[in-house]
C-alpha cells in the first residue's frame, strides 16, 4: 500500500478501528476533536458504536462499562479532560480492564492554552489518579509511529488487562504525514473469560470490581498488579537509541520534541560535536536500562533532557542516571515549541560547563 497523508488524530482513530476497536466514548476538546469526529463517521460503518458522552467523567466510565463487557474500547481527550478522567482511570486500572486512552496534550495548568505541550508526563506516568497503579504510556513521535503503536496498544491492553495511554502533543494530533497501515505482529491473547456478557446460565457471575474492603485482600490485589507491572517492564519497554555510541552528550526526549532534538543533533554534528539521543517510546515503563547504559558509557559527559514542560521526565532520567553523570534540562512550556537552534545552544553550554 502506498503511503497516504494522514492527520495524526484521524490516523490514530483509523488505526484503532484497524485494531478491532468498535466502541468509542468521548467528549470534544481541542486539539483532539478529529478523533471523535472521525469515529462518529467511521465506527457505524464498521458496525461499531460512537457515543458522545456528556463529559469526560462519563466517557471514562462508559469505557469501564464497555471494556468490562469484553469489547475493544477507546476514549480520547486532552489535558483538562484527562484530569477529569483520573478517578475513572484509577478504577479501570484497579479492575484490570483493557482499553486505550489517548491524550493529545496541550499547555496547562488549568485552562492553560491549546497549543502543543508535554506537561502531562507526571500525570500519565505517576498516576493522575489515586492509589498504586500504572498505565502503559506510549509516546509516538510521528504519525506513522502513532498508527503502529495504536494498533499494538489494543493488544498490549488485552494481553495484560491494563489501560494503555497514547500520549501525543498537539502537533502529533494535528499534523499530516505519510502513513502506511501495516498489520501488527500477532500476539497470543488470553480469552476474556472475566468479561460480563451475561452468564447464559453456563458459568458463575463475573464481577468487574476494584473494591477490596479487607485491607489484606486489597494489598494482595496491589501486589498482583505490581507483578504484572514488572512483567510489562521486562517485556514491553521501548526505546530508540540515536547516535548514542560515542556521544559526548546524550539528549533524552520523546514525542515531537525528539524530532526537534534530532535536528539539533545534526547541527551539532556539523559543528563537530558528537551528540546522541535516547528516545523513550514507552514513558512507562521508562527505559531505565538505556539511560543506565549511556551513563556507564565513557564518552558521555552529561545528559540533557529536553521537554515541552518545566521538567518532568527529568526525574526518571535522574533516577536512572543515578548520579553517574549530570542530568541537565532544557524546556519550553505552555504551548511554546523548542527550536533546534536553542537546543544546540543549550547543549554547548552544558558541555562547556561539563568539562
Amino acid at each position: 500500500m502506498a503511503k497516504e497523508l494522514w492527520k495524526g488524530n484521524e490516523a490514530i482513530a483509523e488505526a484503532a478501528i484497524k485494531a478491532g476497536c468498535r466502541y468509542f466514548f468521548g467528549y470534544p476538546i481541542t486539539p483532539q476533536n478529529e478523533i471523535p469526529e472521525y469515529m462518529s463517521l467511521r465506527l457505524p460503518q464498521e458496525g461499531g458504536v460512537f457515543l458522545q458522552a456528556e463529559s469526560e467523567v462519563a466517557a471514562i466510565n462508559m469505557v469501564y462499562g464497555g471494556a468490562g463487557s469484553g469489547a475493544r474500547v477507546m476514549t480520547s481527550s486532552s489535558s483538562p479532560g484527562i484530569s477529569l478522567k483520573a478517578e475513572g482511570i484509577s478504577y479501570i486500572a484497579g479492575a484490570e480492564l483493557p482499553c486505550v486512552i489517548v491524550n493529545i496534550v496541550r499547555g496547562g495548568p488549568g485552562l492553560g492554552g491549546i497549543q502543543p505541550a508535554q506537561s502531562d508526563y507526571y500525570q500519565a506516568t505517576k498516576g493522575g489518579g489515586h492509589g498504586d497503579y500504572r498505565l502503559i504510556v506510549i509516546a509516538p513521535s510521528s504519525v506513522q509511529e502513532a498508527v503502529d503503536l495504536t494498533q499494538e496498544a489494543f493488544d498490549m491492553a488485552d494481553q495484560y488487562r491494563i489501560p494503555v495511554m497514547i500520549m501525543g502533543d498537539g502537533m502529533i494530533g494535528q499534523m499530516m504525514e505519510p502513513v502506511e497501515f501495516k498489520p501488527v505482529a500477532k500476539r497470543v491473547l488470553p480469552e476474556k473469560t472475566w468479561a460480563t456478557t451475561g452468564t447464559g446460565g453456563k458459568r458463575k457471575p463475573n464481577v468487574i470490581n476494584s473494591l477490596f474492603i479487607d485491607p489484606q485482600e486489597c494489598e494482595n490485589h496491589n501486589i498482583k498488579l505490581f507483578k504484572k507491572y514488572d512483567e510489562i517492564t521486562a517485556n514491553e519497554t521501548r526505546v530508540e537509541n540515536y547516535n548514542v555510541e560515542g556521544a559526548e552528550i546524550v539528549f533524552v526526549a520523546y514525542g515531537t520534541t525528539a524530532r526537534i532534538v534530532k535536528n539539533a543533533i545534526n547541527t551539532l554534528a556539523k559543528e563537530g560535536i558528537k551528540a546522541g539521543m535516547i528516545r523513550p517510546i514507552t514513558l512507562w515503563p521508562f527505559p531505565t536500562a538505556a539511560v543506565e547504559a549511556a551513563a556507564d558509557q565513557a564518552s558521555v559527559k552529561a545528559f540533557l533532557t529536553v521537554e515541552m514542560s518545566m521538567g518532568q521526565m527529568i526525574d526518571d532520567v535522574k533516577i536512572a542516571a543515578n548520579g553517574k553523570k549530570p542530568v541537565h534540562f532544557y524546556g519550553r512550556t505552555g504551548g511554546m515549541i523548542p527550536t533546534p537552534a536553542a537546543i544546540v545552544e543549550h547543549a554547548k553550554k552544558v558541555l562547556g560547563g561539563a568539562k
Binding site: E87, G198, G200, N206
Partner: protein, 248 residues
C-alpha cells in the same frame, strides 16, 4: 404441600450486609424476583453503585459491574452499547444518583439508553454515616445538617422522578414505596414493567423506590416504615410519571 414463597434464584446465597430492617434488602429481592420471573437472570448485567448497596454485586446472581460513585448510568451505557441484547440495570442510592451522578442519569435518560435504573431514595447518605442527601427533607436532621435541612441554605429536596419525566426518552418513570406489603407488591409491578420496557427497546426506564435507613434516621426499623409513609410520601408522591403507552 406447596412452597408459596422462597428465595429467588435471582439472588445468590450470600447474606445481605445491610443493617437490621433496612429496606435495601426488600428492594434487592424484588429486582431479583423480577429478573427470575422474566427469565432474565442469565441474560442480565447489573451495575452496583457506591453506597450501602455497593456489595450488591455479591447478591444479584448475574454478571455485575461495580461503578464509581454516581457513574453507574455511564457504566451501564457502556455495557448496553456493547451488549444491546442483554438486560442491563443500575441499582443506585440517592446520593449516588441524585447528587454526584445527576448529570449521568439525566444524560442516560436523554439518550434513551435502554437500561433500567432502580433508584433507592432513603433521603440520606447511608453508607458514609448519615450526611444530607439532595432528597433529605426540609427540617430532617443529618450529620451535615445538624439542625435539620434549612431550605434557605440548602434548598428543597430534589424530586428526581418529576425532573426525569420532562425528558422525552425517559419512557418509564414511576415512584413506589416498600413500607408495607401492598406497596411492596406495587413496587414489584413497577419494576417488572420497567424491565419489560427495556426489553421492548423503548428507551430509558427508572423506578424510584422510597426506602428506609433506620440506622441513620435514628429510628427502629418499624418506626422507620412509619416515618417514610408520613414524611417522605407527602413530598415524594407515589405514582407513574411516564409510561410507554402514552407515547402512542
Amino acid at each position: 404441600m406447596a412452597v408459596v414463597f422462597d428465595k429467588t434464584k435471582g439472588l445468590t446465597d450470600k447474606p445481605f450486609h445491610y443493617c437490621p430492617g433496612c429496606t435495601h434488602g426488600i428492594i434487592h429481592r424484588l429486582v431479583a424476583e423480577v429478573l427470575e420471573e422474566l427469565d432474565l437472570v442469565d441474560n442480565a448485567i447489573g451495575v452496583a453503585p457506591v453506597g450501602c448497596a455497593v456489595f450488591c454485586y455479591d447478591y444479584f446472581n448475574c454478571d455485575m459491574h461495580e461503578a464509581a460513585h454516581g457513574r453507574a448510568p455511564a457504566v451501564a451505557s457502556g455495557v448496553k452499547r456493547v451488549h444491546p441484547d442483554k438486560t442491563v440495570f443500575t441499582y443506585q442510592g440517592d446520593g449516588d444518583l441524585a447528587s454526584i451522578g445527576a448529570a449521568e442519569i439525566i444524560h442516560s435518560a436523554m439518550r434513551g439508553e435502554k437500561f433500567t435504573t432502580i433508584f433507592v431514595n432513603n433521603a440520606i447518605y447511608g453508607m458514609t454515616g448519615g450526611q444530607m442527601a439532595p432528597t433529605t427533607l426540609v427540617g430532617q436532621k443529618a450529620t451535615t445538617a445538624p439542625l435539620g435541612r434549612d431550605e434557605n441554605h440548602a434548598g428543597m429536596p430534589l424530586r428526581v422522578s418529576e425532573m426525569l419525566a420532562t425528558i422525552p426518552k425517559a419512557v418509564f418513570v414511576e415512584r413506589v414505596s416498600v413500607h408495607d406489603v401492598k406497596h411492596i407488591n406495587q413496587a414489584k409491578k413497577a419494576i417488572k414493567k420497567a424491565f419489560q420496557t427495556q426489553m421492548e427497546g423503548k428507551g430509558f426506564s427508572i423506578v424510584e423506590v422510597l426506602s428506609t435507613c433506620p440506622t441513620n434516621w435514628g429510628k427502629t426499623p418499624v418506626e422507620s416504615l412509619k416515618w417514610l409513609q408520613e414524611n417522605m410520601m407527602p413530598y415524594f408522591p407515589l405514582g407513574n410519571f411516564r409510561t410507554p403507552e402514552e407515547e402512542k
